[in-house]
Symmetry: D3
């Protein structure tokens, strides 16, 4: 069984029921999730030894986050306990012309306040095949950036492939701050996932002809920027999901990959959205699964896109689908006929 390590921040998501607005809610659904944790769950689901690393407070809320991961088979033995609080975010689900909304309350979380010395990375990465993290962890604090770097160094030392989902978060840092930290980290990265916004804001590439707010995708423009990225940072793969936002209820969903040889664009799915949080993470996890399985870049991309298409129909951050279900969709059965 191949071992994958992920590192990041798992948060308590307080989500209004149905389509309720924050000011209507008398209850919140309590969901535990976060970029890398979502990837970890997917990979455990696909049968990998999926080890998730973070720091969580010692109280019952921290324990509930651990339990959420254990429930779906993630190895939580390397989670450090301590610190003051778990990061929280509030979410409401949009519909039609009303966008979904997220309010963060994540400052001073246990992982943001953690230190490199909290983690024994040499031990953690023993026998690890793949390490995945995102651009969120280095953004949450100076220590977060240090921890990410230390983890990457140890991962490389252990011989793991390293992937990152750039995931620029404007509430956490400026493009300038981001680039200072992120460009340095790219040295350790093999597989780089991120759309043009991320490429621009985290890494300083200035794409042309792309305007994601318009739900338009110009793959030619992507080709140019991916080649530049690969050239500069020596990535094995550069990847982006392509979301066409028709409305909060309906999206087009596809992805592109460049492996130095071919530039490949996947099949596009038209999605009716149940919960789009974690959509990108499910894509990253599907892609990683594919590459770990020895699929070609094209096959891995299609697996990732199909996995993610399914995620958009599932409430919560985690993509609770089996390999088999993803493969069925890749094979082309999107008819939604009842499985008995």
């Amino acid at each position: 069984m191949k071992k994958v390590v992920t590192l990041g921040e798992i948060m308590l998501r307080l989500s209004t029921p149905g389509y309720e607005r924050f000011v209507q809610a008398d209850q919140f659904d309590a969901i535990y999730g976060g970029g890398e944790a979502n990837v970890a769950v997917s990979l455990a689901n696909y049968g990998f030894d999926s080890c998730y690393v973070t720091k969580l407070p010692e109280n019952e809320i921290g324990q509930a986050a651990v339990n959420a991961l254990r429930r779906y088979g993630v190895n939580t033995s390397e989670i450090i306990r301590g610190g003051e609080r778990i990061g929280i975010y509030f979410s409401e689900t949009g519909a039609s012309a009303r966008p979904s909304k997220i309010i963060y309350d994540r400052a001073n979380s246990a992982i943001a306040m953690a230190e490199v010395k909290d983690f024994d990375f040499d031990h953690i990465f023993e026998g690890t095949d793949w390490f995945h993290t995102s651009g969120i962890t280095p953004a949450i604090s100076k220590q977060g950036a240090e921890i990410t770097k230390a983890a990457m160094v140890a991962a490389k030392k252990a011989g793991a492939t390293v992937s990152i989902d750039l995931n620029y978060r404007k509430k956490l840092w400026t493009p300038q701050q981001a680039q200072q930290v992120m460009r340095e980290l790219m040295e350790y990265v093999d597989v780089c996932i991120g759309n043009e916004e991320d490429a621009s804001l985290c890494l300083g590439f200035t794409p042309q002809g792309l305007d994601v707010t318009q739900g338009q995708v110009d793959s030619a423009a992507y080709e140019i920027i991916f080649k530049q990225m690969r050239e500069e940072f020596n990535f094995t793969h550069v990847v982006s999901s392509l979301r066409e936002s028709y409305s909060a209820s309906d999206n087009g969903w596809s992805a592109i990959i460049y492996d130095g040889n071919t530039f490949y664009q996947s099949k596009k799915y038209d999605l009716r959205i149940v919960d789009r949080v974690g959509g990108g993470d499910s894509f990253a996890a599907g892609l990683i699964c594919g590459l770990l399985d020895g699929k070609t870049a094209e096959e891995a991309l299609e697996f990732g896109v199909a996995a993610s298409a399914l995620k958009h129909t599932i409430k919560g951050d985690f993509n609770l689908v089996s390999r088999n279900e993803v493969e069925n969709l890749v094979q082309g059965d999107a008819s939604g006929r009842v499985q008995r």
Copy 2:
């Protein structure tokens, strides 16, 4: 802060959860709402001093209705308490080819049984900039019609602009009864809101070439009738929302306005409907907000239509959106991308 007064009937809406039919329901969502109350909440939301006038029974159910208004910032100090009961209506939400359904149980409500002398309109309208009501209140009872007229007279005396949403309700009166009452009220009205059905049934105009049941909109026909209405009643603005009912789940939504000069048709939104009750009220409130803000007729119309497009995604009668959210949609961002 500009002051707006609204007058009407707030009811207890007993709504089946999700898409449940009445005969399935073991629970009802308890929602307090009503045409003018919905307008009042929107206007409080937009920052106006929004004063809602009605009569409610002294029991806890009446109090809950008051509280629902207070919660969203409506001034409830002019609500009279007394009478026997609050009006009730039952609602179930349709989907696809199955229409939503409403069963009224509103006879003998406190406001229907109220009398003109219950209200001190001179006091109520002190310093009022705008007065809004609908064709429902005069329809619920003879006293309702008298109260509406007395309020209009006092509003005009206080220098307020007067708007009405014609809102013909066939369960409450016949076209003949309606016209007898409504045509007399038009003398006090500045801004008249109503579609061709309302124009025909409440005011006796006979439009041609319009058949709203077919989800077709012939703006030319509207132009003719609007000119006739303006001519006869000297309205400053004649306005109608235009609903194209593809199904209970999907509607097209736009509006038209005529201010004596231009006849303007708004942008059209394609709506996935969460709850369409209160859709028209949110439009009226958006329009009033725009006109009070000094926007042009066109701008005010676009603000109203966008506000109402958002309402259709929100459970309950009230349109719980901010000015900022409406403006964003007016500016054209209907992509539904997550707001973080």
Copy 3:
């Protein structure tokens, strides 16, 4: 009042709330339903004396199944009590590219273990106008097949019209087993309902040019097979619903009928699906209602299709609509405008 008898298995359906997956569910909606029971409820709803025959355990869960039928007016006086358990199935509702899923746990149910002698069919069918059952009951056990045959014989003897919904269930038997049992039963059948899969797997007809998984419908191919079926088994009507599965959320829905003279294809509805379980049963019930009412084949088909279009918007197995609602839709009002 015409009397209709239905016979089959009513099960406890444990359905995850909303779009939850099985592994997420902390609650199940408890719904009682089953092919023929669903037909029985529709027919009670339409005003027939609808008598449902089955066997259910004597415990409170069996009683709850009886109560679910009584609630909607089904005559349950012929239900036998005894046996070990009620059949159970688990269901989760799909969306977009994720199909709905059903897990059966129906072995050894009271009706599967019942025997012919448990039922006094001569008494049951006294004064019966119509008897309906499905290809599921003969599939659940050897006794199930015997009971079905005994019921058909008695029904014919009593002068009732007999209809069957072929409904091939691959978890219950092989095509070979199915054909052995089902072909023999066809002798008693007047109205045969089933799509090409059913025709092929239950009866051994090999249609050409049809591939339902592609959401394609080739009515010409259906015409050929229907003629063959009618020729061989002397059916008065051969009928099939036609589901075009665009996704788990959206389906096209229509039907075809052949009465020996005309081959008629109904209007097609585009459905937004709330709950598609019981969709076929609601169609069968609508068709039976139409034929019992003396409608033409075409009219009965349109009634069945419209009834079924409405069912897809209703949670649970039962189609809780009135004749009037179906007729409105048949007349063409699919606009979904609020009924006040």
Copy 4:
């Protein structure tokens, strides 16, 4: 199977969830119930042919009330459909020192507006063994009183035993009005159920030494008043439940009966209350069941008290227990040990 007819008003009870107060509630549990309907359900439960008579509006809310009765086996074929509305009441469940609260909105209900000629009592009472009603129906309107009297006359003519639960409701009439109507009805009554308040307010007996607000029961005082009642009205049995209200959560519960010979006081149960609405009705139904079964007055009383003790643990108005469960409690097993 013995036939029992009950007549009265079934209402829609809108009950706040858990211990929520009215002003907190965003949902109401929708429960259909009413004094005589509750008795009807109990008797259907115990295996009698239980026929409930009332008038309900033709809309879906009226239908839901019918369905609630059908679900539990009540014969609803004699329910008349028509009128404007179903009576409604709102309830919140008290706890500890906070009493439960009920707000009525029952004026102008279909049954209150019904007329004697709506009902074919000769047909209804054909073959009837027992007729039960309460002092609420004659109180709701002049017609209600006329209908009750007409029913009693017909019941007696058909040879049925007649019982009444006096149930004085101070919101509906004054003692003077009550006595004028009720004393006249007593001529037809065999079994009279009512506590000292009822005896005093409905019939004009002035008990001494009883103060039910103190949760005190002086059986000697009851003995005197029961003898007076029996003497004047020639009742076969005079019965009262005895509620000792320690708090809204805990009550003592017993009953007394006088049959002309013995004055018998039942065992007392200490109740933890889940829902006390319908407690008295479940007692009446248990008593009637006992007497119909040919039990002695003492045995019937014990059956009624035990039935009612169980009712207090069941949410909703209906007492959903079997004969067997009641008998077990009568036999003395109140240990609450799990039944497997």
Copy 5:
């Protein structure tokens, strides 16, 4: 109408449903509450002009807190908006031998980070009759202590009576820190509420013979300490509630007051607990109401204790009872008989 000002921190309470433990919860009830806010709601409920002062973030969660207060009639016009976050606490409800549990996540809340200059206390206290706060606000931060003091100074200057609920919170400060701050504030306090723990930890009095963990109350010991407190700080009233904790489900509840003349102990209530959070606040509010109404110390105490007995039966922090309901209980009707 008398004006009361309260100042403090309102938090988002995330409460597990029913008796669920934190690690079981998939949902949290979202309740907004906090010591002084709870008092403010009670006082608005009793008909006072109740103005609550705090600082809340500008996001929708902050708005929801404002709305919760407005819903129940609190004047929120003096609430400052800004800062980073609302304080949060998680709660689970205990039962029997399992205690309720609270986990705080309140650091860096808007009010804790606020500054004296954020508030225009002279304006706020204009025309104020009473000012109430608690020992929690000065404990949350240095600024909290400064704000509390500034408010007290302004309140006294405006002629208001000042009350405090000592409410020692061991998670927020040490006894030493508490005493340093609190003893200085006592100069401005007229009515001091606090049990012996508070007196000891906040003010440094060392009571003897009291052990609240044993659910024992020695009123003699209280008398001594109250006299000392009054002597040193010149309080007009020293007050304490007395909770006898038999278990998490059952408590005894009473209170004592000393006004310099008499030392009075109230009636004791035996409580079945629904939600004990806010129990102490409801007592303080009842007491303040009584004193503002001009009741004697004894009467005010009884009003406070009865109000609080009712609070323990109400979910959420707020005591949603009317004056009338409290008076009924004071008058002695604790029988819990249904109020119709």
Copy 6:
């Protein structure tokens, strides 16, 4: 970390919400639990390496059972997947005089149909300190008995202490059958847990002077029987919980232990019951924890009883408490005061 192995059947418990009866339920809470699984969760909770062995079907319902165990830290790596179905039971929660009720539907479950050769017990028991099972597993089928014996043999071979909870289930076998199987198993048992009913029905001991249905406990009678049991089977400890069933809502709860020297009776807790299912299992787990920790028999018993007292307040089968919480209760703090 000490390793504990448990073996048994985990079932899907379908539990009506609140106090709802089966015939009322429109939803079931989906809870996964079973005697030994409940013990396994407790032991994982207390920090042991807790390995649970069973067989579960490969579908998602089986997976959900695995996930429920993983969530709380149980080692599920030895769970075999296969077979037809998971055992199911329905439960409703009693109150006051109404007992809780359980309906089993467990025949033909995967574990009941499993075979000895499905399990590699030598591998499973490697390094195991303790093995626990119950008298339910050998009762479910012949194979169940064989598997239990094979596990015991392997456990003893591996040097583990073996405990059993006799748990006689009259629906599964007769006393004669039970004794034939169970007496043979006793050879391997060190710690025997069971009340007098179990001792009598499973092992054939005939206690005198004990009648558990009366909620009476005669410890002297227990002493005699425990000595006999120890003498015959050479148990190190004989243990029984003592439940005094006052009602379904209130129980007394204590236990007794005999270790060959002393016969010790624990402290008694008066319980308000939230969910008593799993109460006995939580006691067994607490006792095992104590003995594994090296506590004396008395201390271990007190730990078990306190653990179990807490369990009765927790919904679901699992006892979700920490060691610390149990120790606090053992130390005597049953006051239920809020833990902040």
